[in-house]
């Protein structure tokens, strides 16, 4: 089945947050901090207020009222303290966008700056152990004796990998339109990956009961985590609309998005691996150093995939965080797994070379019977199947492991492999299904379609549960007035919403008219299993010996992710993730301005994401799994696993091509050429 919203999307009729035709709409444009740390002395709005069309200037001079519970990035204009360069410190509301933008440039903000610190280092004195890491996982784990395991090993690899600040950069900028009605109810059209949660948070920040707030997000132009929680533009639009008594639109610029909509923390990762003569791990240690802001703690779960991948008698993982004068990092596609598996799977490749083993065989001999850190059985795990199927398709048995020996003119050619994984979770959700007067079925759930094809997948799921043709099923989502549902995030959307939709449809079938479901109890009763999707990523690269340019001539992902509900949507998700993984490997990097704070490369001309010409042969296939311990569909989430392991596979292929191991992403031409000198 093609995407249900396909026609409205290709004809330009799909309405995204900034695009609702609202009567009397005016525009808000933010002013950003020019210093990285200090206090706002004064905000002089006189000149701005005298400019054409200007209705109001909001700032901490006269803090707009927010609930006491408002904190961190959403507590707009409440404090005179500046936490990072680029933070929103004021905003202009004016009749047109051009007038608002021009007046924002005329707002004069005076500061008393303090010395700032924006540099993540593994020896930073401010490093500490957070209580948990996202999303509430243990910070550290330890099993067995790592030192003894390393001492007894035949081969030891001790390496440090680093990944830079990465930005989600969905194509649709974060935007909100806020409208208050006469009775003080708030409607927000927002770029939200989940309207229920977005409504709850906005209500809390504004000090309103949740039933007085409605959030609508019918189409979302990508999010990749950055629209998982409300961002400042939603609060700004609501405050500005209240201040001027008219509906307000607030759309962030691409540059502002870099500052206030989250990013992936940079990481420094230390790994120590020991293996016996047969390649079996004797010890595995993974320690991640990361940053957060002074406003909020966000601790990415970078070392957590190492807890579940390979059998070893001694396993230690740890996370250390430092709070810097930077914006708050947040979720970006596969938080934890994407940077963590880059480091682990690169280190496994190094271990394979050090031990003189094939990298696939090394992974196969370390296949665990149960989840290494918890001892839980896997509900299903077919990493070995993925590696074998990928090896067959990539003709791996014909590969000469010797690095740096294949040449095609100026090009050095190499191949690499890496494993991939992502948790298969689900969260409680509600849903409602009714038989309409015309005999068709209406299914309602406050799910979000951020490009995953949620409408289409839920239609397939509901039609299956009802035993009717998908044409007869109409799914409504993207509105907090619908039955409450979790966010499109953590690759949990379809599993969570789909479970509730199936239960609602089952009830409708027996009732004949209506079915409502809440899966809270069902999920509480889930048996104890380690639930994860697995995959194997294969890459072929060509590295120019003249310019250092890396071209990915082929990417293959083989995934074992439960039952695939919709092959066409699934393939698009997998190859989309792999494409983003290629960006992570080769080009994506935001620099931090050590001198002035804030980020450099705050646009798409400097922060490079893969373009059409970068992406050649990207293929995703899967092994269908039967796993009854997951959810009624037997599915595992697929939105994130595609990005996991891609960068390692490409980095390992670059080593195979050139003989140089680069341990800092991205692998740029400069780094390739530098390794020769």
């Amino acid at each position: 089945m093609n995407r249900i919203e396909g026609r409205v999307k290709v004809t330009g009729l799909a309405t995204y947050a900034a695009e609702y035709p609202v009567e009397g709409l005016v525009h808000a444009f933010p002013v950003q901090s020019q210093i990285a740390k200090g206090r706002i002395r004064q905000v002089d709005a006189a000149q701005a207020l005298a400019m054409p069309g200007v209705l109001a200037v909001l700032s901490s001079e006269d803090p707009p009222e927010l609930a006491a519970a408002a904190s961190g990035e959403l507590a707009l204009f409440q404090s005179r303290e500046v936490a990072y360069r680029g933070q929103l410190v004021a905003a202009v509301v004016a009749d047109t966008l051009d007038n608002a933008r021009a007046a924002a440039a005329a707002v004069r903000v005076g500061y008393d700056p303090d010395d700032h610190d924006v540099s993540l280092r593994a020896d930073h004195p401010g490093l500490y152990k957070p209580d948990t890491v996202n999303p509430g996982l243990p910070t550290d784990t330890e099993k067995g004796d790592v030192e003894a395991g390393l001492a007894a090993a035949a081969t030891v690899v001790e390496v440090t990998y680093a990944t830079p600040v990465l930005h989600n950069n969905p194509m649709e900028p974060h935007a909100a339109i806020a409208c208050w009605d006469d009775e003080g109810r708030l409607l927000v059209y927002d770029t939200a990956q989940g309207t229920t949660w977005s409504r709850d948070i906005l209500a809390r920040v504004l000090g309103l009961p949740a039933d007085r707030v409605r959030v609508v997000s019918r189409h979302v132009g990508g999010g990749f985590g950055s629209k998982g929680t409300p961002r400042p533009q939603a609060v700004l639009a609501a405050l500005a609309a209240r201040a001027v008594g008219r509906p307000v639109k607030a759309v962030l610029t691409r540059q502002q998005m870099f500052d206030v909509t989250g990013y992936r923390t940079p990481t420094i990762q230390r790994l120590r691996l020991g293996a016996d003569a047969e390649g079996r791990l004797t010890a595995l240690e993974h320690v991640a150093y990361e940053q957060s802001s002074t406003l909020e703690e966000f601790a990415e779960q970078t070392a957590t995939p190492t807890r579940i991948m390979y059998a070893t008698p001694a396993l230690r993982t740890a996370h250390r965080l430092v709070r810097l004068d930077v914006a708050t990092p947040s979720w970006m596609r596969a938080p934890g797994e994407a940077p963590g598996m880059y480091a682990l799977e690169s280190a496994m490749d190094e271990l394979a070379y050090a031990a003189g083993m094939d990298p696939i065989e090394l992974r196969v001999v370390n296949e665990p019977d149960t989840e290494p850190h918890s001892g839980l059985p896997y509900s299903s795990r077919d990493l070995v199947g993925c590696l074998r199927e990928g090896a067959r398709r990539f003709e791996w048995e014909r590969r000469d492991p010797a690095p740096g020996v294949r040449r095609d003119g100026e090009w050095l050619v190499g191949t690499g492999v890496a494993a991939s994984t992502y948790p298969a979770r689900r969260r409680p959700s509600r849903a409602r299904a009714v038989r309409r007067e015309d005999g068709d079925y209406l299914v309602q759930v406050a799910a979000a379609d951020i490009g995953t094809g949620a409408r289409t997948a839920l239609t397939t799921i509901a039609a299956g549960a009802l035993g009717v043709d998908p044409d007869q099923v109409h799914v409504e989502l993207g509105d907090s007035d619908l039955p409450a549902a979790p966010v499109a995030g953590g690759s949990m959307g379809t599993a969570s919403w789909g479970s509730a939709v199936v239960r609602a449809c089952e009830e409708l079938k027996s009732d004949g008219r209506e079915g409502v479901a809440d899966t809270t109890e069902e999920i509480e009763g889930d048996a104890q299993f380690a639930r994860h999707a697995f995959g194997a990523q294969f890459a072929e690269v060509r590295v120019s010996s003249v310019t250092g340019e890396v071209r990915v001539s082929r990417l293959l992902g083989v995934f074992a992710a439960g039952h695939i509900i919709d092959p066409q949507l699934a393939r698009s998700q997998f190859i989309g993730g792999m494409t983003m993984g290629m960006g992570m490997a080769l080009m994506e990097e935001t620099l931090t301005d050590e001198e002035f704070g804030g980020f450099l490369r705050r646009d798409l001309a400097q922060y490079h994401v893969p373009a059409c010409a970068d992406v050649r042969d990207v293929e995703a296939v899967w092994l269908d799994e039967r796993d009854v311990e997951l959810n009624p569909m037997g599915s595992k989430g697929i939105g994130e696993i595609g990005i996991v392991g891609t960068a390692a596979a490409i980095g390992n292929a670059v080593f195979h091509a050139t003989g140089h191991r680069l341990r800092e992403l991205p692998i740029t031409p400069a780094k390739i050429l530098m390794s020769r000198f």
């Binding site: 919203e5 132009g221 990508g222 490009g451």
Partner: protein, 162 residues
């Protein structure tokens, strides 16, 4: 000041702020939300429209500078209920996910189909290379897709270019 443009075949007269871009004019004044704003700086291609039949970035054009010219947005690609072959192919090949880059991809592709001559990847400059996948990838690289639908975009365009 007052200007008149031909938008999707209709003359539209609007009183505009001389600072307004063609993109903001389409989106904020004319209700043509198909032209998307991804960067407002000519870096992403989401705002691509056809200007007198050639693809152009509407965020980089001032509205007053395109007075009198013919603008085609994604809303103007289909003829009535019949989708443009590119629109149909994009649906068939699942050439989008979130759909935000899609109007720009479609307008860009529609313009590209009519652009003659070699590109930076053409091997032999004396012959018409035709729209091979390599040529399409090169010529479509001004339109970013963060969802990573490129593989499907190229196959959709290839089908129509054939």
């Amino acid at each position: 000041m007052e200007i008149t443009l031909q938008v999707n075949g209709k003359a539209r007269t609007v009183d505009v702020d001389p600072r307004i871009s063609l993109l903001d004019l389409l989106r904020e004044r004319l209700g043509l939300i198909g032209a998307k704003k991804g960067c407002d700086h000519g870096q992403c291609g989401a705002c691509t429209v056809l200007l007198d039949g050639r693809r152009a970035l509407s965020c980089l054009a001032l509205a007053v500078a395109v007075e009198g010219r013919a603008v085609t947005t994604v809303e103007g690609l289909a003829s009535g209920d019949d989708l443009h072959p590119l629109q149909a192919a994009f649906i068939e090949h699942d050439a989008f996910q979130c759909g935000y880059c899609t109007p720009g991809q479609l307008c860009s592709a529609a313009g590209m189909l009519d652009e003659p001559g070699p590109s930076a990847v053409t091997e032999d400059l004396r012959t018409d290379p035709g729209l091979t996948p390599d040529e399409i990838r090169e010529r479509m690289s001004g339109n970013l897709c963060r969802c990573g639908a490129y593989v499907n975009i190229v196959s959709a365009i290839s089908e129509v270019a054939r």
